[in-house]
C-alpha cells in the first residue's frame, strides 16, 4: 500500500481508538450524537470524494477511510459514505459547507435503483412544490436529502420533509431508516437526467462499499482468530479443531486476496467491471466470515457485548441497502459477456 494510504490508515486507527471503540454499542444501536458527527467531519472524512461530475470520482482515500472505520463500527462508515455521496452531488456552498463541517447532515436515496418502479413511493413536482412520499430512505433523519422524482429529476430537498415511522432495522441502527413525507417548496433541481446521475454515483460507490465490507471481514475474522486461540472445549483450544481452523483460514485467504485486489484497484483507475467484481465478492465474504466468526464464539457471539453479532447484521444490511443482487449481476454479466446477458 502506498505511504499516503498507510498514514491515512493510521489516522483512522487512532480516531477509532480515541473516539469510537468505547462507544461502539451506542454508535451502532442508538445514536452517534452531534458531537461525534462533528468529530468525523473535523477529520475531513465527509468530503473526500469530490464532485460526481468528474468521470472518475476520487474514491481511493475515501475507501481507505471507510475500510478502517468499518472495523470498529460499520454504522460510522455508512454515515461517512452517505455524507460523501451527498457532497458529491450538491454544489450549493451553504449546504455543502454545513454538511462538510458536520453541523448539518445530508443523505442520498438509492432505493429507486434497488426496488422496482412504483415500489418505493412517489414524488412529483407540481405548482412549484414537491409532494409525496419516498420509501426506504437510509439517513431519513438528515437535514438535507437528495432524491429522485418520478419524472426523473434529481433534486435536493432543503426543508419541507419529515421522516415517517422507523422501519425495521437489521443493521446500522443508529442511522435513520424510514419513509420520508415531502411537501416542499424549498428544493433545488440538481439534474434533469437524475436517474443517470444517481446510477453513476451508485457504481462509483462500488469500491467504497467493498471497502466497508473488507473492513468488516478483517475485524470479524480477527475476533474469530483471537477467540479461537484462548477458548477451550473438550480440553483443546478451539483453534486446534480442524473444521473451525480450516474454515476460518479459508475465509481469511479470501480476505487477503480481496485486500490485494482492492489495493491494486485503488492505485490504478479501475473499470466499472473490476469495481463491481470487488464489490460482489467483498459483500459475500463479509456475510460468510461474520457467520463463521459468530459460530466460533458460540452463545457469546449471539450477545452484543462481544461485538460479533453486529457484523452478522450489518454485513447483510449493507448487501441490501447498497446492492441489488439480481440487478447488479445482470449488469456484471453483460460486462463479462461483452454483450447483453442475464436476460431472457
Amino acid at each position: 500500500m502506498e505511504e499516503e494510504y498507510e498514514i491515512l490508515e493510521n489516522t483512522v486507527k487512532d480516531f477509532n481508538a480515541k473516539y469510537v471503540e468505547n462507544n461502539s454499542i451506542k454508535f451502532e444501536n442508538e445514536s452517534m450524537g452531534k458531537e461525534f458527527v462533528k468529530l468525523l467531519a473535523d477529520q475531513g472524512f465527509f468530503s473526500m470524494m469530490g464532485q460526481s461530475g468528474e468521470e472518475v470520482a476520487d474514491v481511493k482515500t475515501l475507501s481507505v477511510v471507510l475500510e478502517n472505520l468499518a472495523k470498529s463500527v460499520p454504522a460510522v462508515a455508512v454515515k461517512t459514505l452517505l455524507a460523501n455521496s451527498f457532497l458529491s452531488l450538491v454544489k450549493d456552498p451553504e449546504v455543502t459547507e454545513a454538511v462538510a463541517n458536520g453541523s448539518k447532515s445530508g443523505t442520498v436515496t438509492f432505493s429507486d435503483l434497488l426496488v422496482g418502479p412504483g415500489q418505493n413511493g412517489s414524488l412529483l413536482l407540481s405548482d412549484g412544490k414537491i409532494k409525496g412520499e419516498k420509501q426506504f430512505v437510509v439517513g431519513s433523519d438528515s437535514d438535507f436529502i437528495v432524491t429522485l422524482l418520478d419524472t426523473g429529476e434529481l433534486v435536493l430537498l432543503k426543508s419541507g420533509f419529515t421522516a415517517g415511522k422507523k422501519l425495521k432495522r437489521l443493521g446500522f441502527r443508529s442511522i435513520g431508516f424510514s419513509a420520508v413525507n415531502v411537501n416542499s417548496s424549498d428544493y433545488e433541481v440538481l439534474s434533469k437526467e437524475g436517474r443517470k446521475e444517481l446510477e453513476k454515483l451508485y457504481y462509483q460507490l462500488s469500491i467504497p462499499v467493498a471497502a466497508i465490507s473488507l473492513g468488516m471481514s478483517k475485524a470479524v475474522s480477527q475476533k474469530g482468530l483471537d477467540y479461537a486461540k484462548v477458548r477451550t472445549a473438550f480440553g483443546h483450544y478451539l483453534k486446534d479443531f480442524q473444521p473451525l481452523a480450516f474454515e476460518l483460514t479459508s475465509l481469511i485467504a479470501e480476505t487477503e486476496i480481496l485486500q490485494r485486489y482492492f489495493e491494486v484497484l485503488i492505485s490504478t483507475s479501475p473499470s466499472r467491471k473490476e469495481a463491481m467484481f470487488l464489490k460482489h465478492k467483498a459483500l459475500a465474504l463479509a456475510k460468510d466470515i461474520s457467520k463463521t466468526s459468530l459460530q466460533i464464539h458460540g452463545g457469546y457471539g449471539y450477545l452484543e457485548d462481544f461485538g460479533i453479532e453486529k457484523f452478522y447484521r450489518d454485513s447483510m444490511a449493507l448487501s441490501v441497502l447498497f446492492h441489488n443482487e439480481e440487478h447488479e449481476m445482470e449488469v456484471l454479466s453483460t460486462l463479462v459477456f461483452e454483450t447483453k446477458a442475464g436476460f431472457v
Binding site: 426506504f136 425495521k168 459460530q295 452463545g299 447483510m316 441490501v320 441497502l321 443482487e325 436476460f343 431472457v344
Partner: protein, 375 residues
Amino acid sequence: MDFELSDDIKEAVVRAKEFANKYFTEEVAEKSDFNEEFPTDIVAISKKEKVLDFSNPWKVLVTIEELVRRDPGLGISVTISAFGAEIFMFFGNDAQKEKYMNPVFAGKRTLGLGVTEAGGGSDVAGIKCEARLDGDSYVLNGGKMFISNGQIADHFLVLARTSPPPSPEKKHKGLSVFVVDSKSPGFAINKLHGKLGVRATNTAELIFDNVRVPKEDMVGEEGKGFYYIMTFFNISRIYVAAQGLGIAHGALDRLIEYSKKYAPVSETGELNENLQLAIAEIATRVEATRNITYKAASYLFKFTPNPIVTSMAKFYAAETAVFATKRAIELMSLHGLTSDLERFFRDAKILDIWEGTTEVEKLIITRMMLKEGGA
C-alpha cells in the same frame, strides 16, 4: 410407508395456525423483539387454550413448526415452558412426576434446564457446577449460562458434579441432575440482554451460592446425570429441528409472497430464473428437512431413538433455516430487510448453536456411524 399426517395431527396444525394468526400479530412480535420482552400474556393464553397437547408428541412437533413459521421468537416462547420435562418422564420417580412434571404439562408451572456453563457450551462433561452432600441435602455452588426461561421458570433441572471424575477421559461420570426451586436462598438470576435474535425468549445466567437442594430432589441415580442429559438432547434436538423447519418454511412463505407481489419478471412474463431457482432450492431443502425431522421423530416416538438421524435432522434444519432466511432477504432486497423476515434471519442463527452446535452434531453422526455401521 405413509407420508400423510393423520387427521388429528392435521387438526393440531390447523389449531396452531389459528392461534398464531390470532395472537402473533406483527405489533406484538415486533414489541417483544425490540424490548426483549417475554410474551407473558400470550403464553398464558396458550396454556389456557392447551395449544400444546402433550398427550401426543406428534402434535407438539407440528405445533412448534407452525407457530415458529409465523414468528420464531413468540413461537419458541410459547412452546418452551416444559423444557426438560422429559427428564422427569424417563428418570424421575412418581413423587417428582406428580410434584414437578404434571403441573408443567398442565400449563401451571414453567420449567428450565441448567446445563451450559460460561466456560463450556458444547463440552457438557466439562461443567464446573458442584453439588456436595451435607446432611439431608445437597449444597450447590457454581453457575449456568444461556438458560432459557431463566427468569420465568418455577423450577430448574440442574446438572452438577457430585463426585470427581475417575479419570480425565471419564469426565462424564460423577454428574447428577437436581431439581432447584427458583426461590431457593442463594439462587440468583441475571437476565442476558442484547441477543441477536429470539429476543422474545427469556435467557439468563443462573448463580448458585450454597443453594440447598433436598436429597429427594435428585432425579434418578447419582452419577448418571450426563446420560440423562444426553438422552434428553436426543429428544430436544428433534424439537429444535422443528424450530428450524418452521423458520425455513416461514422464509419460503415470505419469498413466495414477495415473488407474486413485487418480483421482476422477464420479457416472457415469468419470474426471473434466478429467483425461480432460488425458490425451488429453498422449497426442496424445507421438504428434505421435514422428511428427516419426521423420520427422527418417528424413531423417538416409538421409543427407539436414533441419535444419528436426530443429529442429522438438527444440524440440517439449523443450516436450512440460516440458508433460507439469508437467501430470502438477499432476493427480496429492501422488501425483505423491512419486513419480519429480518427477524427470522436473526432468530435462525441460534439454531446452529443451542442444543449442540452444528459441528458437534456432525461429529456425533460420524462417530456413531463408524461405531454402529450406518444410519
